[in-house]
Amino acid sequence: MRLTKSQRHLLEGGSDAQRQAMRILLALAKLSDADRLIPVTGAHVSGASYKMIGDPGLEFLEDAARDARVVIPTTVNPLGTDLQQWQDLGIPPEFAAKQERIAAAYERMGVRPTYSCTPYHLGTRPALGEHIAWAESNAVCFANSVLGARTNRESGPSALAAAIVGATPEYGLHLDEGRRPTVVVNAPVRPRDLDFSLIGLVAGERVGDGLPFFRGFRGSESDLKWLGAALASSGSCGMFLLEGVTPEARRASRRGLPSISITRKDLDEARWQHTDGTDADLIALGSPQLSAEELRDIARRVERSPPRIPVWVFTSRAVREANPEAVATIERVGGRVLADTCLEVTLLEHRFGTVATPSGKGAHYLPTLCKQKVMRSWTRRRGRASDCPVEFSRSRREREARSAPT
């Protein structure tokens, strides 16, 4: 292991937190046979929801916050509830109090209080080839795939250690050889809206921890966000390539790789596999948190056809505050726009039994984390408008049909 002079100084003469951070990075370097630590320009830390990390996590963070300070711009994942609305949501006061202590600990360490799983929607957009240390699988997948930045799938503590030291072990997705595709995935399915989540779910299950090279479709940045989030949930992928779309796809060699196909039938199967309820009592949108465009899109839709059951929309504080009209529209029809938290880490189970969500990531995690039924239902396709009257982005064909003169 080669350390620079300043890294050696942190390990031997740093504060308690710096020494501990160095020891974590060195332990992980040893596991992955990395022989040095490389500087990173930013970090994104996961593990801020009290629901997920509980008392052991709270205790660790408060201990760390005594003398740990981050040395690079660092953002942090969503909390377990919206701390400005928790009383209306019926969250137990003890939960909210502990959640506040977690947030305060991060802020003492100098972490920006973004509480978002989509730092890339909030102006944190590392450039092609930039080395970063991000936790939160959907953000990792987005950064590597769509932006071409370089990060491994960090855990909460390892991303925090990188933020304290300003460096991360050099292995895996930081290296050119770790960014080569391992399997070609043909998916000539003409995907629209929710299909991107389904492609991600199916591919993740089949590819595991490989690096898929997708062919046969195109998608917008928002589409790829949903695909990547689902892919990184059902599989442990940290990156994908999409022919003709993602920046590193053109230079990737596919020679000699195994190839698999995803058909429309696979997508339908995946949809039913993730549906085990019939009557949802909540529609949850988000996971990952919605961008400003997605939030405004939802507002337009609920205004057009108000939902029969509550709609909870998850977004970041910044997006919520920048779009007061969209928020007011959603609230007018009985919905809620929650900020600083997200679907799979928020406390829901005290109030809801069955949740309908179009998010592949949400559908993957809800049953395992919340012990709840999850139902995904797609209005138009099943002709049951009462279940889930909102979809993400209506396909172009439908939009055109709607606007065409009759």
């Binding site: 596991l31 997920m52 503590p157 590819v207």
Partner: protein, 231 residues
């Protein structure tokens, strides 16, 4: 587990596992040391946070509850003072998808009557692979075995004896076998049928280890071995 050494194959689950280990150690009820077969981030980070010595890449299948261990986390070493280590080689012979197993005779010193693969004791400073080649010739009469893979040792425990089994995989051109005195019977079986036989300890793990290393056909591309899981 306070004051004891906690040995388990590998960690699994979410990051909160790291925090739990930290919390245990802080309250003074954490393990004195951790031993893992496979290295993994959650445990490594947890042990680091907690200051608990961790030794990995050690086959915990050879350990028994109550064993005395000496763990040196700094050097990454582990000693069992009450256990005698005996090094053996096991040569797995493969021919068109079938593997050779042999039944040990009543004249051998251990595991009489049990099914095994071709194997033998390592003597002195002998190179394991050389011993494996010699055992193939002596026990089966097969010549022209082609070396395919060696994998890291599997530990098979028999009371106070630890058999350190060095697995090797060879492809052989034919199935004609001429047994010597050590074995009384032989069969060419599918690896999946191994469960039906009364074997020497951990033969299944030895076979799995030997076969798993041989699947990586292209050593230049490390990730290419990760094929998509069949549905």
């Amino acid at each position: 587990m306070s004051g004891r050494i906690f040995a388990f194959p590998q960690g699994k689950g979410s990051t909160v596992g790291s925090y739990v280990i930290y919390g245990l150690a802080k309250r003074g009820v954490g393990p004195a040391a951790i031993v893992n077969s496979a290295a993994e981030g959650i445990i490594a980070v947890g042990a680091t946070l907690a200051g608990i010595p961790l030794v990995d890449r050690f086959d915990v299948g050879g350990l028994r509850t109550g064993d005395r261990l000496i763990v040196d986390g700094t050097r990454g070493t582990l000693e069992l003072p009450d256990v005698r280590a005996v090094h053996v080689v096991t040569a797995l012979l493969r021919n068109q998808g079938r593997i050779l197993i042999v039944r040990r005779s009543e004249k051998v010193g251990s595991f009489r009557g049990r099914w095994s693969a071709v194997s033998g004791y390592l003597e002195g400073r002998e190179v394991p692979k050389t011993r494996a080649v010699r055992e193939i010739r002596e026990e089966t009469g097969i010549r022209g075995a082609i070396f395919r893979a060696a994998s890291s040792p599997v530990l098979a425990r028999d009371d106070a004896t630890m058999y350190v089994v060095h697995p090797f995989l060879f492809d052989v051109p034919g199935r004609r076998v001429r047994l010597d005195w050590e074995n009384v019977e032989h069969r060419w079986i599918r690896p999946t049928d191994l469960d039906r036989y009364d074997t020497v300890p951990r033969l299944r793990d030895v076979v799995a280890a030997a076969l798993s290393t041989s699947n990586s056909k292209s050593p230049t591309r490390t990730r290419s071995t990760r094929r998509p899981r069949p549905r």
